[in-house]
């Protein structure tokens, strides 16, 4: 029964909420969310239809270089406080088993799994949220101490898939079923299927999956026979060499890079590293689209920060040259270079 007034009210609440995130006004943001709860909006809706889309918008504003990293961090922190406030208001006594929710090691996007944790809590599960970047050893010792019915793991960046696989195996060895989610497993979850793990596209489906014991235990086998070609392991081994070479190549072809500040140099080195890591992850799941999707995402991020597309093209070309005896990697690089467009030559 969403009539026009509530629809308009909702849009207004959403816009106001975004404004308070932009102003880093924690109290206004909490007021907005709690006001909706007091107005009778269910907690799950506040979390999934207000907090979640606002957070997605925050990420997009960062990608378009409209917001600084600092603004993004501040907004994320406020979203977390809002989630805590909403959860505190809607606290339900747990009636079901224990579910552990955690981010993969090295993964700092804690808000989406936090929302999953709260939705599970609202549905009666006893939830433990271990937070961002959980080391596998920490998770294992937790599972030894507390009998978990299931573990929910989040991965936002596909480049963490090899580590994600390790984490999944750790839970398997502890004989605890795993459900994964997050953009890191692709929009359709195909990389979760490749790793042989149950996947949920969003918080409500994750809650449904956890409630379905049979579905949770019926997991297809991992399809990772391609790892036998050692391309993944070989690429990881040559990571530093690749980055060094790409940097030298850039300095050669784009003289402007020689005048970079130390901070710009760090950013370039870490970008060059991300490219290698995404390529490695694509090899790990044997899916070139992982790498091309990354390049498609990276292009506007770089151009909005005044890095010409040609620079990315040169790096892809350089990696392709060095990795000529890595047939799968070379194929992925070729395909992504076509996306970047005209390469070759020097910077003006």
């Amino acid at each position: 029964m969403i009539d026009e007034t509530t629809r308009a009210g909702w849009a207004g609440a959403y816009a106001g909420y975004l404004d308070s995130l932009a102003a880093a006004d924690e109290y206004a943001a909490i007021d907005a969310a709690v006001g909706l709860l007091d107005g009778g909006v269910p907690a799950e809706r506040v979390l999934l239809d207000l907090v979640a889309p606002a957070q997605a918008e925050v990420g997009e504003r960062w990608a378009r270089n409209e917001w600084s990293v600092a603004q993004e961090h501040a907004a994320t922190h406020i979203s977390e406080r809002v989630v805590a406030a909403v959860a505190g208001r809607a606290a339900a006594r747990p009636t079901r088993g224990r579910v552990v929710v955690a981010c993969m090691d090295g993964e700092w996007h804690a808000l989406p799994p936090r929302l999953v944790a709260e939705v599970l809590r609202l549905r009666g599960w006893q939830v433990t949220f271990l937070g961002a970047s959980v080391p596998p050893a920490h998770l294992v010792s937790y599972l030894h101490r507390h009998d978990a019915y299931a573990v929910a793991l989040a991965c936002a960046l596909p480049m963490r898939l090899p580590q994600a696989h390790h984490m999944i195996e750790v839970c398997r060895r502890a004989d605890v079923p795993v459900v994964v989610g997050g953009r890191g497993f692709a929009a359709d979850g195909r990389w979760a299927r490749r790793l042989g793990v149950a996947w949920a596209p969003d918080a409500p489906s994750a809650a449904d999956l956890v409630a379905d014991e049979r579905a949770l235990s019926r997991v297809p086998a991992a399809q990772l026979d391609h790892l036998a070609d050692d391309e993944y392991a070989g690429l990881v081994k040559r990571r530093a060499e690749l980055i060094d070479g790409a940097l030298a190549d850039l300095r050669d072809r784009a003289p402007a890079t020689r005048a970079y500040t130390p901070a710009q140099l760090d950013a370039t080195v870490s970008d060059l590293g991300y490219i290698v890591d995404f390529l490695a992850a694509a090899l790990y799941v044997d899916d070139g689209s992982l790498f091309t999707e990354f390049v498609q995402w990276l292009l506007p991020v770089l151009t909005s920060r005044k890095v010409p597309a040609a620079v990315l093209g040169w790096t892809l070309e350089h990696y392709g040259r060095v990795l000529h005896d890595f047939p799968r990697a070379a194929r992925y690089l070729d395909r992504s270079r076509a996306l970047v467009g005209g390469t070759g030559g020097r910077a003006a």
Binding site: A24, A74, G88, W108, A132, S133, A174, S217
Partner: protein
């Protein structure tokens, strides 16, 4: 199975015809195949003699399937087959039909039969006794299946599991190989016995459930087995298990049940009861397999309990050594981050904290003890306790740091060994304008950073000597004013000494830290602390790092109008 009177040699499965054990020179009979050279020219093979030495018996039929010839071996295997009569009349099932017969059982022997067409529409049946070789193959397959089952069970149970998971896994693994219904009963604790049961489900994983019984309500046979006795009266066992309601879908009169104890250190750790329909009764090999499985199961259960106890003790000790979140202080927003080097432990040599002072201010500190791991963590505990006690008699940071130094030195001298620490200690007092005054004393720690309202980062000039090394060390002192919205950040060397870069050889360093904070003046203190933790961890090339600790204090201006109770952690959250 004993060899019968047909001259069967069960040793190699070969059937030897009587009278053919040696070469005979019967007139018109067989002739030796090999003649000595120069004796006589080689003769054509005498087929009847050759045939007598074959493992396969031969039955030759004419085009009308009337038997023409039966070799001695075939005669023994198929005495019903007589020359001159139709093969079908012999009444041997399967014989006479076209095609190969792999598994014909006749007169207690397993026969492999095949039919080959001969010239003129005739045909020949080759019959071989494969009883022994088939039996051996079956035994081998069964043995392999048992070994594979134990390997799979060992693999599952070899990983450290939570005790309840281990118990459920034991019951589940027993189905379907060992049982249709498997019940694991653990030795009663405090008069109550917990049990797990797995029941075979069609085409699916077994269904596992669990429950608790008062020790007195256990079936007597189970109680006896838990006391270490081997139950013998199997009929009673079925009855008792059925009465306990443990055998769904099995008729007690047609069910075979076994009970094995799970060997423990003193008494059995538990008892495994297995049941399946009597047509698949437990033979000696099955019972051996059951015992081998029980031994593995019991090792897993004992290891799981030890693991859990250890984790519990470690958790309790860790909880007392973990940094305590700073107390709420008017005008101050605290932010903290903590990431110990030894991740499995969650404790380390870095520490921070805050205590409220009687005058409305707060004492705060962040420090780093030499070393990492448990030793360092225990030492931080001593340090924090010293601070907790000493701040009641001395709240001026400089003199308080001097007292801490004396206390550490005394401990070191008393034990003949000790550690030193670096430490920043401060007192924060709020002002009416919403700003804060921070008076800080430094003992050899990295100087704090201040994030000004304009977004720029300043390094606080704070030096001093290590704490716990010499009596009366030089202690640095400094006073810093924070306007509303400004933040002071204390951090440990795990941040600046994090190793990263393409080869993992470059330290993160102060410059990168300052860069990461510049422009972050609008960030709430907790977000700022998390940001430092995150950029540090992102910088790391390898997983290993020193302890990382961050304590941030932000002047929030006027008292927050915030009225909603926001728990620092969600309800029910206890890491």
């Amino acid at each position: 199975m004993a060899a019968d009177a047909r001259g069967v040699d069960p040793g190699d499965g070969r059937v030897r015809a009587p009278g053919t054990g040696r070469v005979s020179g019967r007139p018109g009979g067989a002739r030796p195949l090999a003649q000595r050279a120069g004796d006589r020219p080689p003769a054509a093979a005498d087929w009847s003699e050759v045939v007598a030495h074959l493992r396969e018996g031969l039955v030759v039929c004419d085009a009308d399937e009337v038997v023409q010839h039966v070799s001695p071996v075939a005669q023994q295997l198929l005495p019903e087959v007589v020359p001159g009569r139709p093969l079908g009349a012999a009444g041997v099932p399967g014989l006479g039909a076209a095609g190969d017969l792999a598994g014909l059982v006749h007169r207690g022997r397993r026969l492999a039969v095949r039919r080959a067409p001969l010239a003129g529409g005739r045909c020949c049946w080759y019959v071989e006794d494969v009883t022994e070789s088939a039996g051996r193959a079956e035994a081998l397959v069964a043995e392999r299946a048992r070994a594979a089952f134990l390997a799979r069970a060992g693999e599952k149970l070899g990983n450290p599991l939570h005790p309840d998971r281990a118990a459920a896994a034991v019951a589940r693994l027993a189905v379907p190989t060992l049982a249709d219904v498997a019940v694991l009963v653990l030795a009663p604790r405090a008069g109550r016995a917990r049990w797990w049961r797995a029941v075979r489900a069609a085409d699916e994983a077994p269904v596992v459930d669990a429950g608790v019984l008062p020790g007195g309500d256990l079936p007597p046979a189970i109680g006896e087995a838990l006391a270490g006795a081997q139950p013998h009266a199997l009929d009673w066992l079925v009855q008792q298990a059925a009465e306990a309601g443990w055998l769904p879908g099995l008729a007690p009169e047609a069910t075979d049940v076994r009970v094995v104890p799970l060997p423990g250190v003193e008494a059995p750790a538990g008892v495994l009861l297995v049941a399946r329909p009597a047509d698949r009764w437990y033979d000696e090999a099955d019972v051996d397999l059951l015992r081998a499985f029980a031994a593995r199961a019991s090792a897993a259960l004992i290891a799981a309990a030890l693991y859990r106890d250890q984790a519990e003790v470690a958790d309790m000790l860790q909880a007392s050594l973990l940094p305590v979140e700073p107390v709420e202080t008017a005008g101050v927003e605290w932010g903290t981050a903590y990431r110990p080097a030894v991740t499995g432990l969650r404790i380390g040599g870095d520490f921070y904290g805050a205590h409220r002072l009687a005058d409305g201010g707060s004492l705060f500190f962040l420090g780093d003890v030499a070393g990492k791991g448990v030793d360092a963590a225990v030492f931080t505990g001593q340090l924090r306790q010293s601070l907790q006690a000493l701040h009641r008699v001395e709240s001026r940071p400089g003199p308080l740091l001097g007292l801490v130094n004396d206390a550490l030195l005394e401990t070191t001298q008393a034990h003949g060994q000790g550690r030193f620490a670096t430490l920043v200690l401060g007192v924060v007092r709020p002002h009416r304008d919403g700003g804060l005054t921070l008076t800080m004393a430094g003992g050899g720690h990295l100087p704090p950073l201040v994030l000004r309202a304009g977004g720029e980062v300043e390094t606080v000039p704070l030096r001093g000597m290590l704490i716990g090394v010499v009596p009366d060390p030089r202690i640095g002192e400094v006073t810093v004013r924070l306007a509303p919205g400004e933040t002071c950040v204390l951090y440990s060397d795990g941040v600046t000494e994090a190793r990263g870069g393409p080869r993992g050889e470059d330290q993160f360093g102060g410059r990168r830290l300052v860069d990461a904070l510049t422009g972050c003046h609008r960030m709430p203190a907790p977000a700022l602390a998390e940001r430092i933790e995150q950029v540090t961890c992102d910088w790391l090339t390898h997983d290993d790092h020193d302890d990382i600790a961050v304590l941030a204090l932000r002047a929030v201006g006027r008292t927050p109008r915030h009225l909603h109770a926001v728990p620092a952690r969600g309800p029910g959250e206890s890491a």
